[in-house]
Symmetry: C2
Subunit: 303 residues, 2 copies
């Protein structure tokens, strides 16, 4: 079952006390696609400028990502982001955000995209997310990400989108802002009341919760000895989660729990190198090994 | 198998935006004893002043805690601590610390205490901890807690103690200070190298790790909808952990993993009321229920 992702394909420059990278491939749709491609075919919808070359496309094509929906804007420049990390990889400063050709991104979905059964709306203007939702046919399983930026500026639009999606992905800070609750259990209850069937609440190095009206699940973070660059970890989490779920026989409790572990794993690999290096070199064996380790990490044998 | 705890019995005053308490019973040995008493008989060693009355002793006696080792210093006053919490229960300010009769605490262990098979050294001057270790006979299983205060002031003494104990309990901040490593996996490796067989690394609301040279385990925090007063949660964690282990048929991987869950549970109850109210009212059924919930929270069914 293939999955359609709509988001950004970008160039990222990153500075950290332990290293840096210049104009490496990044963007929400990129990370999501590379992670999800280990589980299911992925079709990517995004816009780039003509500074996005064949070698960049090859990074996605090598993982079998369908780029029919990747529009190249003639004379345009690709979304560019520059960030800086402090000694603590949790401290990130946005140095430059040049939307470039993404500024007026408002995709018109082609027929194979409109009829998708699996859709992921990466972080973007909720009005664009709503527009895309209006174009899809049938009742696909829709995952959606957002950010503080939109919670603060377009809460009403965002709440309308949240009311229509199946799975919402937020981090702890976003959950608190969206709900107005500091306690995450109360925040989760509040957000589930806004409509999504599934809430994935990510706490970075502290793991992630999944909430539905019927059960809750906690996935510990994969314990890393070194975090080089957490950029894209959230999108990689969503890619592993949604990709696995699209490949599963059913969206039920057992598979949602496992999807959380796969999301944790693809998110963990994203942190281990700058840009997408680690995700590019990933094999199914690497993923299986971490799955086993995570299961073991929390295993409790009962009498 | 009974367990001996050496630590403080104190009066605590706590102020928080959502409530306060005045001179309620607290102290490391109190929290530890109440938690451990659900699993195994506890013998408490501490000192109080004669402001510590029969009604206070009854709180411990009601849970069967042996107070033979609780010395009352005539004319002395009981350890008093006053703390203040901010909106975030993780932000705690020490307002008053009156050591009072605890200032010169240096217990001489009686025969039944010296021959204990299970010993917990709560946070105190590592030189006193070493002195107690020197008094015990045989090779008891020894758990030990400490604090930033001693890491900064008496590191050499502390390292000598750590080299002689079986299980060390620290939180994430203490682990970083003790090891000089920011990354907790590297910190854990460093600390295990200092001698303890078992390292329990607590992250408060983010759960707790257990490390040995053979395996690592992660226990998620019990998800609470309200945290009223985290005072004593760490000592209650140690009490549940050590109490369960003392009652278990063996100190092996399976029982260490379960001890982490029991520690998590007794720690969680400590947070739900000011002082020890919730721990006093606790039943074995309350503990069993949370055990089941925590197992379920991380359960992954494999194909």
């Amino acid at each position: 079952m293939s999955i359609v992702v709509v988001g950004t394909v970008a160039f990222d420059s990153i500075e950290a006390p332990w290293g840096s990278t210049e104009r490496a491939i990044g963007g929400s749709a990129t990370y999501f696609s590379l992670a999800a491609s280990h589980f299911t075919p992925v079709k990517l919808i995004a816009v780039v400028g003509d500074d996005f070359c064949a070698e960049h496309r090859a990074i996605l094509e090598d993982r079998g990502v369908d780029l029919e929906g990747l529009v190249t804007e003639r004379g345009g420049k690709t979304f560019f982001w520059k960030g800086r990390y402090g000694e603590d990889p949790n401290d990130r400063e946005n140095v430059v955000t040049d939307l470039n050709c993404f500024e007026h991104f408002s995709p018109l979905l082609a027929a194979p995209h409109r009829s998708t059964r699996w859709l992921f709306l990466a972080n973007m203007d909720p009005d664009i997310q709503a527009d895309i939702l209006g174009q899809v046919e049938g009742e696909p399983f829709v995952g959606c990400d957002t950010q503080t930026f939109w919670i603060e500026r377009k809460l009403e639009s965002l709440r309308r989108v949240i009311g229509r999606v199946d799975a919402l992905f937020v981090n702890d800070r976003e959950a608190r802002e969206l709900s107005g609750r500091r306690n995450l259990m109360l925040a989760a209850r509040e957000i589930l009341g806004m409509g999504p069937k599934v809430l994935v609440l990510k706490k970075g190095e502290h793991g992630a919760f999944l909430f539905t009206k019927d059960f809750r699940f906690f996935a510990p973070a994969y314990p890393l000895s070194e975090v080089l660059d957490p950029t894209g970890a959230g999108d990689s989490f969503a890619g592993g989660f949604m990709g696995y779920l699209a490949s599963a026989p059913a969206v039920d409790e057992a598979h949602l729990r496992r999807a959380m572990i796969y999301g944790t794993i693809t998110g963990s690999f994203a942190c281990e190198t700058f840009s997408v290096e680690r995700l590019r070199g990933l094999t199914d064996e690497h993923i299986s090994k971490r799955f086993g380790e995570l299961v073991d990490l929390v295993k409790i044998e009962l009498d």
